[in-house]
Symmetry: C2
Subunit: 467 residues, 2 copies
Amino acid sequence: MQDNISHIVSKLTAITGTEYVFTDMATRTHYGHDETEDYNFPPAVVVKPGNTEEVAAIMRLANEYKIPVVPIGGRTGLSGGALSIYGGIGLSMERFTKIAIDEKNLQATVEPAVITQVFREAAFEKGLFYPPDPSSQGSCTIGGNVAENAGGARALKYGVTKDYVLNLEVVLPTGEVIWTGANTLKNSTGYNLTQLMVGSEGTLGIITKIVMKLLPKNNYNVLMLVPFYKASQACEAVAEIFRAGIVPSALEFMERDAIDWTLKYVEGVSLTIKDEVEAHLLIEVDGNYPDVLFSEAEKIMGVLEQFDIDEILFADTEEQKNALWKMRRAVGEAVKSNSVYKEEDTVVPRYELPRLLQGIKAIGKKYGFHSVCYGHAGDGNLHVNIIKGNMSDENWTTEVPKGIREIFELTVSLKGTLSGEHGIGYVQKNYMDIAFGPTQLQLMKSIKTIFDPNNILNPGKILPDSY
Amino acid sequence: MQDNISHIVSKLTAITGTEYVFTDMATRTHYGHDETEDYNFPPAVVVKPGNTEEVAAIMRLANEYKIPVVPIGGRTGLSGGALSIYGGIGLSMERFTKIAIDEKNLQATVEPAVITQVFREAAFEKGLFYPPDPSSQGSCTIGGNVAENAGGARALKYGVTKDYVLNLEVVLPTGEVIWTGANTLKNSTGYNLTQLMVGSEGTLGIITKIVMKLLPKNNYNVLMLVPFYKASQACEAVAEIFRAGIVPSALEFMERDAIDWTLKYVEGVSLTIKDEVEAHLLIEVDGNYPDVLFSEAEKIMGVLEQFDIDEILFADTEEQKNALWKMRRAVGEAVKSNSVYKEEDTVVPRYELPRLLQGIKAIGKKYGFHSVCYGHAGDGNLHVNIIKGNMSDENWTTEVPKGIREIFELTVSLKGTLSGEHGIGYVQKNYMDIAFGPTQLQLMKSIKTIFDPNNILNPGKILPDSY
């Protein structure tokens, strides 16, 4: 392999120039991890192509030599999608950073390495709105968002990444370059290759351009933090708010631990929380008419009256709003900084949230682990952080996976599934048999084979090891 | 084949009972057409299964004997998707009519033969809203809507069928039964088989259950009809309204002929239109707050001031609104009743509409045909009805297809595509090379082969004859 790699390195250098090919251990290690637990799988070589043609040339080379290629974005993934588990070529897309906003059509053409927040702000400056806002928006990339079909806090009202992708330029594993669709809001022209590519976690092709739909921006919002004395009631309230005819722009759930740990971790946010409070909902409504928002906030308060809650905190200033969102977005990192952990990305129909939460706690008790739960409750998406804490390494590696399997079985029995927005990647792939039977898994495997006959693009992801 | 068919008929009878198998010419002819031009391709036998297991048994039988099967819904299609072009089994899904609305989760499980309007009304009665509203909503079925990824007048604000489908029960061509996803608003769990099935025009599987997302219903709308002295300005106004930050719930374009012919065709609607008026926009805003709607209507009027328009007609009563919508929905039928015609379903980014319209007229002049254009201008979707009128049969069969090809080439050059909501089916398949290169077409062909190795399910649709 080593000889082979020197040969490949010289070929890669011929494609991109020597300054964009790296074989030193520091660079390889840097590109060998994302935000998934403490994994590090360094690629044998890192290459940073500068345009679509270079990506295509790299894929033709990789195909010829049957070398694995892993596309790498912001490395903020939580399912190990960007890990080079078989070494090979780490294909960092970081030089793809152009944004072209088409104000006339409320669209944008974005390159994959654009940071999500940068794109959102660029749209905002033109009076336009790109809603998807993963918690990692300050460092994740649009390409990664498309690959994972990322969501975020606003998905319950505005949808997820897939709902904004109109068309994709893709380099296939064979090196061919295609556009998947058209730059139109509607499209009934052949099989939906665009949506097949979205959420395919870098296993079917390398995305080099993305045409996104944009909305007119709205100018106002109301944000409130609601403390619940019972976590189960916070979950119940979620469905009730929708049943009252309101579609909030965010409806986030945080267990007590999630907030406590985060307040310790984040600077500049202070909150006094009564000991008896078990959970919070962070609720936002947005729109163009402040009066309407106040009326919706009142309706929400009417719904909340039937639950056992403490005083609602309204964020009066932009500063307070930013502080609350900063806190919410930092939960993941805060939990991570506290202990070794595993994060699951369960999602169920929203009315089933209380049963999911209760079931997770019971499963934790059975297998001896503590979990911290938080997430996008408005769309039924609950992040479950399983905390290692003082658990023995043995229990961690033998008992916890059994518990995770039971959590996923519960999720699926509630008509939910394994991942709402993080993807399956490396760490969840051997649970896929819970969500799908052999027929669906074989269909997926066959689709993979069509696009990637030599299985060189991000191999060992999504499908169970037995496929 | 005839011997074979009697054998098949007896096998089908064993599956569904004799009362659901038909070989008489009247029935076969009835199921041999949809609303596509004047085509009639009768199946050799019509069968009406009563449940998923019967569909599965029929597919296993068809696979064993390599007999084509065409799934048949409301037969309102405009691209010939339900035509039994190779005879075989016409599989009418008409007994699949159950609706189960899950108010707690704002979802519904719907069987494919439910009429779209029936489903919309059932949701409405529970205070819920299923937005997609194809013009044929009174007779088309939800299953057909999923198969074609149908749109409608509200798509510009609320999206198309694909944006509401969460999960599908599907009988594969091999007779296996799968669910494609989960009943969740977000899903990043493997390749998106659900979205691959939506819009696949009955070529990848037979849909037997559909889990749909619903919204809380809104209670108010404002509807206005705007006469333009220049058709091109009506097209220009479309993009301007969005650029003013307004997202109407409908924004429909009708050329003068479309309205004139429809007023003659539809009873109970009368309108006086000045001779100089070339086109109309029908504009609707909807929501829960009448004051907001009036304010948005005013903003729209502000945008319209810059164009050369006649007096705006506001629909003051439900009756007036219904009359205007009845007129708009009847345009297709009215045009059809007037002459032999061909309908194209062009779609472009909305700012390109004026160029598309202008180009279509120039192409018509070049090839000697008259066209009547109307459609969902808010999402760039323009239906082009090419009128035979007094044209010779020879010109109709030789010159018109050249003109259609040029229209599609223009559409694609404007970053649009062949079909926004009608599908490709039988009549547009040999134009697919304009939208896609050999690589994409081969990918689609390979996907078809994975799902349907014997090419028995709705063969001869979507892909060009050379694939």
